[in-house]
Amino acid sequence: MALYYLYPTYRDYQLSKELSTLHGEDSANFVEKNYEKIKSARDGRIKLGLDLKGGMYVVLEVDVIKLLEDISKKKDDQLLQKILNDLRGLSDSTRGNVLDAFKAKLAENNLTLKNYYGELTDDESTIERKLNDAIDNAVDRAIGVIRNRVDRYGVAEPQIQKVGGNRIIVELPGVSNPQDVVKLLEGTALLTFHLLKEGEQEIRILKDIDKALAKLQDTSFFASNLQQTTDTTLKDKTTKTDTSKIVSKDKKDSKEKTKKDTSKISKTTKKDTNLANKTDTSNLTDTTTAQDTTQGPTPFTSLFDPELSYRYGGLVASETNIKKIEAILKKDEIKAVIPNDVIFAWSYKEIPDKGEKYKIMYILKKEPELTGSVITDARYTIDQQNNRPYVSMEMNSEGTADWARITGANINKRCAIVLDGVVYSAPVIKTKITGGNSMIEGMPSLEEAKLLAIVLQSGALPAPMRRIEERTIGPSLGEDSIRTGILSSIIALFMVALFMIVYYQFGGSVADLALLINVLFVMGIMAVFKATLTLPGIAGLILTLGMAVDTNVLIFERIREEMRTGKPLKTAIEIGYKKAFSAIIDSHLTSVITGIVLYIYGSGPIKGFAVTLLAGIGSNLFTAIVITHFIFDIMLEKGKKVSFG
């Protein structure tokens, strides 16, 4: 079983070795061909820690004190400023601690949270809850922004986690240019609104790319049946409308009734077109094939999934194809045919289907209509009337004027909400919005509404963040330490194994077998729990092996003792195991206590140590008590000679 879980680790190692022998184009092709294999091996293998592999480890802290200042009702109050300044001297700036100290300071000055936060009707605990929510929100927002950027940067297996309420640990394996990454992590999020290139414009761009790409490639390679489906995709898409739309919140109440009606109408029309398209497919394909002769092949548009594109009303492509599409769009020959005022962006949302993840591609106007700095607030709520989630968004006066002009000129067109180049939503503008208050509806779930609100807020208020710890390990140092670490472990293990055989003869070789099984078990357990192997982890493994040797020594010495009193071998073994049991259990359980405490209180590397230690204790108990005992029993039953030196 351990071997089963370890297989991916071995397979990944093999694949990477194969990959490293290839260069340039070849390696890209290899990745493409073996994508599935590489991916499944990657997912199941034991991950190497940053100290073994190289990479970057950053701890960011959301500045709770700054946040307390920003969200206060009376920001400029002298006393508040003084209290907050005093708090900056705190040694422990984790969130719970800061809040407690803040309340204590307020109390010293005969003040309460209410003096600076919350509504008149709120009581202290409500205000405290609200403050906590605000901090949570800021941290989540920061994590969202970081995750998005790290994903786009293309770091393999990034780990982003929240600790201590206001800290974010970011681990980026294999990153070798820390300065770039730091900028990536810390820069303020850029939120923009872009109009979509729709209808004719969109089709023309896609066709131009198709033509240019076809020129580049061997045309005979693409079968003609692919063309048909993609052309239907284009056709379908243009007839469809996105479900999300944007309306003025001010007019919402007065127009409640009419709005409901329109939504109904748009729905039924959608169904109708749906139906029409389905029944007419034969006709459609006929016409498209007829057009094909003039259009030529469509190597680019064929990368989008026709069925999903139709269902989601966009250009939907699978994860594998996204890579191809991006590569195509980077080619100079293709860039030449793309209009200058156009950018391509992918949806944040992933659509899981047919065992793959899909994303929607948007073709946007390059020049943003607005930037997120005009947004003053964004919230998500559930519409009381129809029980659907929506997001409301408020803008400052400058933004309101622009927004009114933009929405007025683009009714029934779509406007994408883009954060750091990723499209989070692309609602249809339904009315001219003059009051600055907009409502975005059509989110399928509350989760998505929440995400969109967070995205909109990140334009409103950048979370104040600070780096408090940062470690970069160059890949060569990682290699060095893995080599010395593993080499010395193997030497040590070999010496111990040799000693056991010399000292306990047959018993010793069984103990060595148990050691080997132990190593496999620990690695297997780590693979199952997707734990990371670090240098202290290797140290933990060695300690575990020390304990495994100890357990066997303990049992064997007991057996020898019993044999000395003249008992037959079989009885001696039975009694030896039985008597050694209480000592083994007690010593292992005390180690479990230390292991658990280390796991809870240790940070990064020490945690790694605790994980291997705990895994080792578990597997050791099993191998020493069950497996070796079983081997001795079998050997005795078969009448083989068993000796303990």
Binding site: D92, I468, A492, L543, G546, R564, D586, T590, G645
Partner: protein
């Protein structure tokens, strides 16, 4: 092959001498600690640390003068392994990665014909060190309490006390050894960092393991020899487990020596600390943990209470 079979050494009779030995080591160690101290690593101090590999060999003194000119005077600079590998460390805190950028910039300017590769950069904010210390203390205290409760439950309370005192003893002795060795051979590069912290915690685990095994035998033997003096029973138990003690401690010690010799700079603090810990952990099981139990039981006997 057999080692230490049927020995009959009166270990506990000599416990008073060993109390003295332990105490003097701890006293000397702590005095050294207070006078000389153990250098604290960047994990505890905060600051920026760079490990750099140059293409050609460099001279530490010239690098130091370059750094002084760049505004980083008093920086700790030392070679690691070879004269091409340098470790630079400064407690100076600046916004973001500024410190490491400035250092790299200064090195590039001063040594234009000796390009280098950055192996590692650690930047630790000033608050992390305090937190790490707090967490480490918390971890040690909680493990000790956990062990105390567990052993009190499995044995008797006085045994648990003996084991925990032995653990304190081991930690103190090891700290003393680190301080003394650092004072004698500063070149070892011992420093208090999170790896050494891990070693201390491992040591606690190992020491209590050893103590528990001897206690287990005492628990068993007390039932067998009901009328004998506790000191005799304990001696019997220590002798009975002697060969396992020596073999186990010996093999683990061997493993750690291998790590100490071949494990490289990164593992050195860990292996040194743990190597000392194995010796004192083994020793303390008999001469501290068991000895305390013996003295306590004798004390009870004198008072007329038989337990």
């Amino acid at each position: 092959m057999r080692l230490f079979e049927s020995t009959n050494i009166n270990f506990l009779g000599k416990r008073r001498i060993f109390y003295l030995v332990s105490l003097s080591i701890i006293v000397i160690g702590l005095i050294t600690l207070f006078i000389k101290g153990i250098p604290r690593g960047i994990d505890f101090l905060g600051g920026t640390e760079l490990q750099i590999r140059f293409e050609k060999e460099v001279d530490v003194h010239t690098i130091r003068s370059f750094m002084d000119n760049a505004g980083y005077s008093g920086m700790e600079i030392k070679t690691m392994g070879s004269d091409k590998d340098l470790l630079l460390r400064t407690p100076i805190q600046k916004e973001g990665t500024k410190v490491s950028e400035e250092i790299q910039e200064a090195l590039k300017k001063s040594l234009p014909d000796n390009p280098f590769q950055v192996l590692r950069i650690d930047k630790v904010g000033p608050k992390i060190g305090k937190e790490l210390t707090q967490n480490a203390l918390m971890a040690v205290i909680l493990s000790l309490i956990g062990i105390l409760i567990y052993l009190a439950f499995r044995f008797q309370f006085i045994y648990a006390v003996g084991a925990v005192v032995a653990l304190f003893h081991d930690v103190l002795i090891t700290i003393s050894a680190v301080a003394i060795f650092h004072a004698l051979i500063p070149g070892l590069g011992l420093e208090l960092n999170s790896t050494m912290l891990a070693a201390f915690l491992t040591l606690i685990g190992f020491s209590v393991n050893d103590t528990v095994i001897i206690f287990d035998r005492i628990r068993e033997n007390i039932k067998l020899y009901k009328n004998e003096d506790i000191e005799n029973v304990m001696n019997k138990s220590v002798n009975a487990t002697l060969s396992r003690t020596v073999i186990t401690s010996g093999t683990v010690f061997l493993t750690i020596i291998v790590l100490l010799l071949f494990g490289g700079e990164v593992l050195r603090s860990f292996s040194f600390t743990f190597a000392v810990g194995i010796i004192t952990g083994t020793y303390s099981s008999v001469f501290v943990a068991s000895a305390i139990v013996v003295d306590w039981k004798h004390h009870l006997l004198k008072k007329g209470k038989v337990n």
